[in-house]
Amino acid sequence: MIRERSSRKWELWAFLAPALVVVVIFYVVPLILTVYTSFTPLRNWNIQRYATRLIGFYNYQKLFHAIANDPSVRAVFLTTAVFVGCTLLVNVLGGLILALLTFFVDRKTNSIASTIWLLPRMSPIAVYGLVWYYFFHGSGVGTLNSLFLRLGFIDKPIAWGQAFIPYGPWSVIIFVNGLVGVSFGMIVLSSAIKSIPGEFVIAARVDGATDWQICRRVLIPQIKWHIMYVTTWQLLSLLTSYAHTYLLVSWRLVNKSYGTPWALYVYDLAFTGVFDQGLAAAAGTLLVLVGGLLGLITLRILGFGRLMTEPRGDI
């Protein structure tokens, strides 16, 4: 019996160990290191020299001071709020509209549309960035410029991401990131709509409901949970991802201050501009705190705990 029990335990470890090792090395340890670094003056990755010195909350003070006084950091702060809020709106509403539209069209159109909309999400980030780089390019090469020139809306090319500060760069990053996230909402919501029994829709049609009424009264009420899921999940994802905006800023397509959300700011501090890892870690820790809190609330709201099924058997 003892032998049997220990062999069970051994097997369980064999299954779980890889994931636990990955989680410890790439989540737990980095979290500790990030928090630790935020209390050191680490810069230029000179670990021997700086990483053993502790300077208390100096980095945090510096950060809050910068938010209050440095216009470029304040711009980052503001950009984060606008970027996350607006992109989220684009993602969720766009996803919902696409999901509803695909519900009402035939299978073929549905499949083509889904294919097109998943492309932004699947494409290599560099390619996707390049695509929009040319689209919003400040010269006559830019697709948008040439289009507007032809239509007579403008008489000379405009650098969309650098002009009309802050709305120009904001619009560009919201547009580019918005398209990436729309597919998530579309896929989740349309699969949720598909799982609604068809009788509901047919019954509503027999009762003479219009398509709009079917959306409002039948479809949307039944996918509330999924809309919630998409919203909260996408919120967290927007708050923490920065790969797409990184390229737009680094290629100078958009203004640096008004094109940099917080997550990218953290990355820039540590790896591109000033190489101030202590400050970056402090900014990162703040992001982890906010994100972690939102994450916990999300799991609570969505009730994932209740969704879990227990395994069967006692083997």
């Binding site: 069970r8 369980l12 064999a14 779980l16 890889p18 994931a19 636990l20 990955v22 989680v23 090395i25 790439f26 989540y27 340890v29 980095p30 670990i47 509209i97 539209l101 069209v105 035939d106 299978r107 159109t109 499949s111 549309a113 889904s114 294919t115 909309w117 932004p120 699947m122 290599p124 980030i125 560099a126 390049l130 695509v131 040319y134 830019g142 040439s146 289009l147 598909k194 829709v201 047919i202 398509d211 899921y229 909260t232 967290l236 923490t240 991802s241 920065y242 990184y246 680094s250 290629w251 890892q277 970056a280 870690a281 990162g284 994450g295 916990l296 799991l299 227990e310 395994p311 083997i315």
Partner: protein, 291 residues
């Protein structure tokens, strides 16, 4: 599927919605096709000005010759970048799949203390991407970094693969758990009664049964590694297609249609996997939720 609805809804409405749907998709189609077209042209065609455009394979030729400008002697080994990108992508795919299938199985099928905690932790980590911990991840990289350049190159490959895969591990565990949840218990019990251990059951019975799930997660992992730029540029010593494109767009002498060719080349596997396994990927990109 709303098949039952087909009979009752009007054809004209359906066409109307189809048109809206396609119209909404136009910017994406245009932007991507301009890029692909430019790769076959002597200049960027992104401005719809086709008057001076000649179509040519010159860009592709230059690309494979490793020249980034029409003139000048700067040479880059595009094949090497392609291989590097593939190494990272395959590495991420394998690590993601291995970890996901092993732990997904345990969480779905084995009763153990802390199971709920592990699952909720995975969900939490999935909700909150690990990329925000990159300062810590790089710190660790610095601590472990070997001193000799050659060793460092190999180490950087290894590290970037595992670190990038780690980002996808929570989702893959959650997803694979979902796939395992759907398998009938009787088959598993049969194997256990027949004398198989859990590991044997996993390898011989369950893995073959969730082959579609495994394929989905493999492709997903591959695409995650393939599309990455941040981790690759942060950790990897060698260049990939992503860093090649990133750095050359900034350089003044870069010949733009050539970059379009590089980007199109970079895009090809994505399109291939997308077309070949659309249904499976839908499941993955939906985050594996069922309710």
């Amino acid at each position: 599927m709303s098949l039952g609805d087909v009979e009752v809804r009007s054809k004209s409405r359906q066409i109307f919605y189809s048109i809206i749907l396609i119209a909404l998709s136009v910017p994406v189609i245009v932007a991507f096709s301009m890029l692909v077209l430019s790769s076959f042209a002597n200049q960027m065609v992104t401005n719809f000005d086709f008057s001076k455009v000649r179509f040519t394979f010159k860009n592709w030729q230059l690309l494979f010759q490793g020249r980034i400008a029409i003139t000048g002697g700067l040479r880059e080994n595009i094949f090497l970048y392609l291989i590097n990108t593939a190494i990272v992508a395959f590495g991420v795919a394998i690590v993601t799949t291995l970890v996901g299938t092993l732990s997904g199985y345990a969480i779905s099928r084995i009763r153990f203390r802390g199971r709920r905690f592990v699952l909720l932790m995975m969900l939490m980590l999935h909700a909150l991407p690990g990329s925000i911990l990159i300062v810590g991840v790089y710190f660790l990289y610095r601590l472990w970094m070997p001193t000799s350049l050659n060793a460092l190159r190999y180490f950087s490959f290894f590290y970037v693969i595992v670190a990038r895969a780690a980002l996808e591990v929570p989702l893959s565990v959650w997803l694979m758990k979902g796939f395992f949840d759907l398998l009938p218990w009787e088959v598993e019990w049969s194997a256990l009664v027949d004398g198989a251990s859990r590991l044997k059951t996993w390898a011989k019975i369950m893995m073959p049964l969730i082959k579609p799930g495994v394929v989905a997660i493999l492709i997903f992992g591959f695409l995650a590694g393939w599309q990455d730029i941040i981790y690759v540029r942060t950790f990897l010593i060698d260049k990939t297609l992503a860093t090649f494109i990133e750095s050359n767009l900034e350089s003044e002498m870069a010949y733009m249609p050539l970059l379009a060719a590089a980007a199109t080349l970079y895009l090809l596997p994505t399109i291939f996997f997308y077309i070949s396994s659309q249904k499976l990927l839908f499941k993955v990109y939906a985050g594996g939720i069922r309710r």
